[in-house]
């Protein structure tokens, strides 16, 4: 179950979108202005952001930046009444997931959300993988990279000019730290990070 945070200063738009998403079984938390959202946002409750580009005081892009400063890089879908190219370009340069112009077709929004959910998941996985890989020593990381390239333990030992036993010991340590003895899973973690 993915969360959606909807930030729009227009109450009617906010409620209608939330209502629409509810029919897709997507729960959306709504906020009337960026400040309220910033005050409520919880890093441990990731979700996809649907933000109006133009709002008084703090714009959608500014909100996106403020979140990034706090290390929150959840996918953001920018919605706007003005589909002008300049705003669109700025949005994508800032790392926006998607850019939709009002009025928004329900299907399009849901599609965009699905993609966003995927990237949110991917992002979370990547974050997780990084956290696991961060536990490895430098040598262990070196060994994992070689494993990921498909090298056998002997080849790795030869390359690193150590004994094969030592390599095996490293690999046991890696399996322990990454929480998986599956080479395939280890390789996936190494690749997505």
């Amino acid at each position: 179950m993915h969360r959606v945070y909807l930030v729009d200063d227009d109450e009617a738009v906010r409620e209608a979108l939330a209502f629409l998403l509810s029919t897709y079984g997507i729960a959306a938390e709504t906020f009337g202005d960026p400040a309220t959202f910033l005050a409520h946002v919880d890093e441990d409750r990731p979700g996809v952001l649907v933000v109006d580009l133009r709002m008084p005081l703090v714009s959608g892009l500014q909100l996106h930046q403020k979140l990034a400063e706090r290390g929150i890089d959840w996918p953001t879908i920018m919605i706007t009444g003005h589909g002008d190219v300049a705003a669109c370009r700025r949005a994508f340069k800032a790392g926006i997931q998607d850019f939709l112009t009002k009025p928004i077709d329900g299907e399009v929004l849901v599609d965009a959300l699905q993609q966003a959910f995927s990237s949110l998941d991917a992002g979370l996985e990547k974050r997780e993988a990084r956290a696991l890989l961060a536990k490895l020593t430098e040598r262990e990381r070196e060994v994992l990279d070689m494993v990921a390239r498909g090298w056998a333990s002997k080849e790795i030992a030869a390359a690193l000019e150590v004994s094969a036993r030592t390599i095996d010991a490293h690999r046991a340590k890696i399996a322990e730290k990454l929480g998986t003895s599956s080479v395939a899973e280890q390789v996936r973690l190494a690749l997505i990070s």
Binding site: V13, A16, L17, G81, D105
Partner: protein, 587 residues
């Protein structure tokens, strides 16, 4: 239009007076000329009549002399008969006498001198100036008269002189005695004795004239040859003319040698002559065989004759009527011109208003362009909500067990949203419409709310905060709602531009006395002192891309509804524009 002549009545009066003066002048001149001509004609006529009549006297003298002293002298009885018939036919001949001037033998110069003196007494008027000191020689008066006659065409001086010498010879210088031969009527007439000497000295066959007093004169003629006879006529000068022959207006005088014989004044009823015109005068000597009478005619010029009152009054009346007609016509023409002018002014005013209305419309359309993105946003919001909620409702409706309550709830909200969008569209359409201004009592708070709805997004984009201070109860004024919105929009936009991002624009409504007030203020830098007086001047602008028509148009639109607009700087920064309109009371 400052000349008093531009007043048709005064002009008419002046024209009328001028016409009267001209009439009087022309009338005086023509009347005077006519009267003078009349006098001249009358004078000539009378002169001819008198001349003919005095000529008859000479004829009588001649015929009587011929009768009495011809080759066969008629008996005195016959002469008397002739004389009597003459007096009968000619009443002016008062007395006829056939006398004999017999020399007095042995009488001396002294006697002659005495006679001379008597003559001087008798003919005093004629000879008074000459009589004294004249001796036996010819009296100066006679000589003078002969001389004067000599200067006439009929008798050369030389002949007169010769005859004078002959007469002196005839008279032999001795005294003569007058002996009446025949007199008619007998015993009438005058004593000829004093004149005897003079008559005796006359040239024979030539009549001489003597004053005889009482308006009469004597005409004497000596018989020719050596006869001592002479015929004398006593003529009543006044009867030379029949009274009817003299016009009543004529002042006639007949004089002999400067002495008036008869004077017939003009009829007094004709009035006194005016003193400022030369009186017409006629004077001519009667040229009748020694009867040197001077005829003089005068004519007084009474005002009534110069300017006949009835004609003057008639002319004044006609001129007055014409002047009144002229004044009326002028008045009509002026009135027509005034009404034409008023019509043209009204037309021009209408044209100006139309231009202003077109300009106002163009300005609104222009503003609408500026507002377009904001308004599109305003419309996008309800549309977004509508679309999303509709799709949601559709999904609900297509579910196996449709939640009708939720669907109808969604539709309810949708209807509200659609109306909100429609309202926005109406506002836009109204604002950009080109319909003729329509004045009606309007709620100024509502007008402010409309403008705010149109400009809110624009202000948000500019990041300018808007503060509304609505006066309660809402002030009302008779205005065109759209034009008033336009004025407010202009002021709000100017204020937003002045204060810039982060600033605040305040719109306040209220009432003060009999005026409704609309104030738009900002917390910007205020208005420069040198700009303040020129703010509402057309084409004055401080903006790089401005036309300078915004505020001037605002002033025009406000003044159209009898309001005014003022700008001032607020103490502590910022500017305030205040619109004052006549407060419209409760209906």
């Amino acid at each position: 239009m400052t000349s008093p002549l531009s007043n048709p009545r005064l002009l008419g009066l002046a024209l009328w007076l001028a016409a009267l003066v001209a009439f009087v002048a022309v009338s005086v001149e023509t009347s005077r000329t006519r009267m003078a001509d009349e006098l001249e004609v009358t004078g000539r006529t009378l002169h001819r009549l008198i001349s003919q009549r005095v000529a008859q006297h000479d004829a009588h003298l001649t015929s009587l002399i011929a009768l009495s002293s011809g080759a066969e002298p008629a008996p005195p009885g016959a002469i008397r008969q002739v004389m009597e018939s003459i007096t009968r036919f000619y009443p002016r001949i008062a007395w006829l006498a056939l006398v004999s001037l017999d020399p007095v033998a042995g009488s001396g110069a002294g006697a002659a001198g005495g006679a001379q003196g008597a003559a001087s007494d008798a003919g005093g008027e004629v000879q008074g100036s000459d009589g004294a000191g004249n001796g036996a020689s010819l009296p100066a008066g006679i000589t003078g008269q002969a001389g004067a006659e000599g200067s006439g065409a009929s008798q050369p001086a030389g002949v007169g002189g010769a005859e004078g010498a002959q007469a002196a010879g005839d008279g032999a210088g001795g005294p003569v005695a007058v002996r009446d031969v025949v007199t008619v009527p007998p015993g009438g007439g005058v004593d000829l004795a004093p004149l005897a000497q003079e008559i005796a000295a006359q040239v024979r066959g030539k009549a001489s004239i003597y004053a005889a007093g009482e308006g009469r004169y004597l005409l004497a003629k000596r018989a020719s040859g050596t006869s001592h006879l002479a015929v004398v006529l006593l003529i009543d000068t006044a009867q030379l003319l029949v009274p009817e022959e003299r016009p009543a207006w004529a002042h006639l005088e007949l004089s002999l040698d400067g002495a008036v014989l008869v004077e017939q004044p003009a009829e007094p009823g004709l009035g006194l002559g005016v003193s400022w015109l030369a009186v017409p005068h006629f004077e001519k000597v009667i040229d009748g065989e020694g009867q040197r009478l001077l005829l003089s005619l005068d004519r007084a010029l009474p005002l009534a004759a110069l300017v006949p009152p009835e004609r003057f009054l008639g002319f004044a009346a006609v001129a007055g009527v014409l002047t009144l007609v002229l004044v009326f016509a002028l008045g009509q023409r002026a009135a027509v011109r005034r009404s034409e002018l008023a019509a043209r002014e009204a037309e021009e005013r209408l044209a100006v208003q139309e231009r202003e209305t077109r300009l106002a419309h163009a300005s609104r359309v222009n503003a609408m362009g500026e507002l377009a993105s904001g308004i599109a946003h305003e419309l996008t919001q309800p549309l977004t909500a509508l679309l999303s909620r509709s799709q949601a409702a559709l999904r609900l409706a297509r579910a196996d067990t449709p939640d009708m309550a939720m669907i109808s709830g969604a539709l309810d909200v949708n209807v509200r949203e659609a109306k909100r969008a429609g309202e926005m569209l109406r506002r836009m359409r109204d604002y950009a419409s080109n319909k003729a201004p329509e004045r009606a009592r309007q709620d100024l708070n509502a007008i402010v709310a409309e403008v705010v709805a149109l400009t809110r997004t624009d202000l948000e984009r500019r990041q300018v905060a808007l503060v509304l201070e609505f006066g309660e109860p809402a002030p009302h004024a008779v205005v065109d709602a759209i034009e008033m919105e336009q004025v407010l929009h202009n002021l709000i936009r100017n204020a937003a531009e002045a204060t810039g991002a982060g600033g605040t624009v305040t719109v306040a409504t209220g009432a003060a006395g009999r005026e409704a007030k609309l104030a738009v203020s900002d917390d910007g830098p205020g208005i420069a002192a040198e700009v303040l007086p020129k703010l509402f001047t057309p084409f004055f602008t401080t903006k790089a891309d401005g036309m300078g028509l915004g505020l001037s148009l605002c002033a025009t639109l406000v003044e159209r509804v009898d309001g005014r607009i003022e700008a001032e700087n607020i103490l502590g920064g910022g500017a305030r524009f205040t619109i004052s309109l006549p407060l419209a009371g409760e209906r």
